[in-house]
Symmetry: C2
Subunit: 103 residues, 2 copies
């Protein structure tokens, strides 16, 4: 799937880069490789499917304010699967700044 979620650079210095991702229902990051360790801070509750290149789908429940850290190297796409796309969008958007540890 191509990138349909919106990415906005919020901050960048020599050590970290902070990118805010906003997903409307069914929007996707597109497939990507994480070049750096990273921390994600969900700002909304939500549900995402993480799809790896071999087709494995892992469904994750996001809770606002419950951050998580992941190592570099992961290749996947992330899709907002909180509910069908035709339901009310306010309850299913996902917002999640991601802090990349550049150095």
């Amino acid at each position: 799937m191509t990138t349909t979620a919106r990415a906005a650079l919020q901050n960048e210095d020599e050590r970290v880069r902070v990118t805010r991702w906003d997903f409307e229902p069914q929007e996707s990051t597109g497939r990507h490789v994480h070049e750096h360790d990273y921390v994600v801070v969900p700002v909304t509750d939500g549900q995402t499917d993480v799809i790896t290149p071999d087709g494995t789908v892992t469904t994750s429940q996001l809770r606002a304010g419950q951050s998580y850290a992941r190592p570099a190297g992961g290749e996947h796409e992330v899709v907002n699967t909180g509910c069908p796309a035709d339901l009310h969008r306010d309850r299913t958007e996902v917002t999640a700044p991601e802090v990349n540890k550049i150095h």
Copy 2:
């Protein structure tokens, strides 16, 4: 003011430490010095007063998902001044994971 807000360590490795701060109305971090550069990701809208040792008060409006970065060295306390303490707490709690750049 002493520390009344709640701090919860969410993640720590050799490069970053992620601490979630929850503030009910009028709660404070207590005075502290930032030993590391840091990024704050507000998960709620809110208002804080940042009080430096010389008594200067700077009022900040927080927006959910609008992260900000600050350098090490700052000394201050942060108080949730979103509204008087006797108003409904659900609208005035502040939640903000803080990512410290240790190395």
